[in-house]
Symmetry: C2
């Protein structure tokens, strides 16, 4: 029996809480051990992490702290599961603290999933630090990290030639947590939707990261990347536990990213997240030899899937050379239970 | 521009010829270079490899030889693409010759895809030799290697818990090459089917390898592995370019492998290959959190897919530590074009 992977959970929002729960579940089989929990929220600090989780968990003895460096220094975890926010510049210092403590980092920060284009200097610096510390830093999640990049790449794995790759993801946002509904503009007035889009206060972060990751994986040079974002109108009134929308109101968004390769749009990612979507699904079409027409009926449910891939990735870092990595550098993803 | 991967094609049956063709296609972009071709068939030896391929290719200057050690020594390829036969004991010496020449080996030998259980001693010895030579040896293909192991594992990558994994592959064998039709017993009398099954002269090789690879990937201990093989009867007369079957005759086979984990059948692989299948498809059902219901409509066309994954895998070995490996140890598969 191998010794358990020692984990610090950094960030205790809804995803972080669920991730901590998944780590505690794996403690039962001796696979993982939760040795620390970090959040800046004063309402959380000092509480046993078990009291934050929905379910009836026994006290863990792990108390939330807002002093990450101290707990990392004291506990020397193998891995930090990091779930704070989307923007790399905001989390950069947090990641450095983890790396300095000699811990691998698996982060849900969307901009970290493929940071080389949007944040080349930060990526270089992080890579340098991670190598020096002998640890792996990787950004992943359901999207970016899986549904619109790793899964489509895997679909191409059997192709001898490819003309184009088309990826579509439709999410019925009514089934998802409330914070997603804010992120996709549910209930916004049109002007507000537009203004928030311009300010990056709204919209899915990571479509460009996925596009660039797929292109890199395929060895394709992107001559241009084109992105669009538009509201989706409700074709009927929709009510969910978190919010409601009138007929004709903004129910969510439709985002696309297209990659131009050799003068043609050979790569396209199409994401719709809105209340009342008839069906959620993920689809990958590889126009190639052989053609691949892959579909996940019902879609890949984001809230639990992100937790799954974070925890699963933490078990796959042993053979990965140190440095800043992406899903391209990691072994075939899989649950390890 | 990186220098091209220097490839020797070892084995020039239908799959080997197509693989050589794919390497020649990648020579056009400077990605690969075909530097040797090996086969024991006296009808092939001495001919330019281009003359073996269906299409109108210019002469390559690469002449088929039946002396692998000599061409490997002379050309010092980076990778050998090895496509001779299914049984590891039969190809063991061939693989050793490649390893001794310091070449990585990507092989379609089914029993090499996950050799640790069926051939533990050979696997250990190969691993030792590969490490000593600083090269990677890996078995892959569409099945085993992808459709019923790597793809299902990838489907589990987002799961926090899994109750069971069910994989199904249906292949309309009428669309495939003639050698497959022999392998699946098309046109056999019932007694002949049974006798050939007992002699391992018939049937898909690799289902058990896939099952064991998935179990290993998931960290599941198999208490038992149960296999079945049965003929599929034609419900109508079927005619293909390669052969024909009367109504009620044997049109192919239905093979299953089930893995018992913790007293329950938590892993099942179900393979049907027969003439006249209404639709080919690949399906993966992960009963877990979240549930994943993945389907490849039209299936993953085996003849070209095996060529694809062989050639694509050859481009993914740079960062893999040396030794005998499986798809579990390799990065996310993808085409690199």
């Amino acid at each position: 029996m191998e010794s358990p992977v020692r984990v610090v959970q950094y960030g205790l929002g809804p995803i972080g809480q669920a991730t901590a729960g998944a780590v505690l579940d794996r403690a039962k089989t001796g696979q993982m051990e939760l040795v620390g929990a970090v959040d800046v929220d004063p309402q959380m600090v000092g509480r046993d992490v078990a009291t934050l989780l929905d379910d009836d968990r026994a006290e863990t003895g792990v108390v939330v702290t807002d002093r990450p460096a101290a707990v990392l220094h004291e506990q020397r975890p193998d891995v930090v599961l990091h779930t704070t926010t989307s923007a790399l510049p905001v989390v950069d210092e947090q990641l450095r603290t983890c790396v300095a403590a000699g811990a691998h980092v698996v982060s849900s920060t969307e901009e970290l999933a493929y940071p080389y284009d949007r944040h080349p200097e930060r990526a270089k610096a992080l890579d340098r630090r991670a190598r020096a510390a002998g640890v792996v830093v990787v950004g992943t999640g359901v999207n970016p990290g899986y549904a619109m990049d790793t899964l489509p790449l895997t679909a191409t794995g059997v192709c001898t030639s490819i003309d184009a790759v088309r990826v579509a993801r439709v999410v019925d946002a009514g089934e998802r947590r409330g914070s997603l509904q804010t992120k996709i503009g549910v209930g916004c007035a049109p002007a507000e939707f537009e203004a928030k889009t311009k300010d990056d206060a709204l919209g899915h972060v990571g479509l460009q990261e996925s596009l660039r990751m797929v292109a890199r994986g395929l060895g394709w040079t992107l001559a241009d990347v084109r992105e669009t974002i538009a509201p989706v109108r409700a074709d009927r009134a929709v009510e969910t536990p978190h919010c409601s929308v009138e007929e004709g109101g903004i129910a969510g968004l439709h985002q696309t990213a297209v990659g131009v390769v050799g003068g043609r749009e050979r790569l396209s990612l199409d994401l719709q997240m809105y209340l009342g979507a008839e069906e959620s699904y993920d689809a990958v079409q590889v126009e190639g030899t052989p053609p691949i027409d892959l579909r996940v009926d019902g879609g890949i449910f984001g809230d639990t899937a992100t937790v799954g891939i974070l925890v699963n990735t933490a078990s796959l870092l042993d053979t990965v050379p140190s440095g800043l990595k992406t899903m391209l550098d990691l072994p075939v993803p899989r649950a390890n239970l």
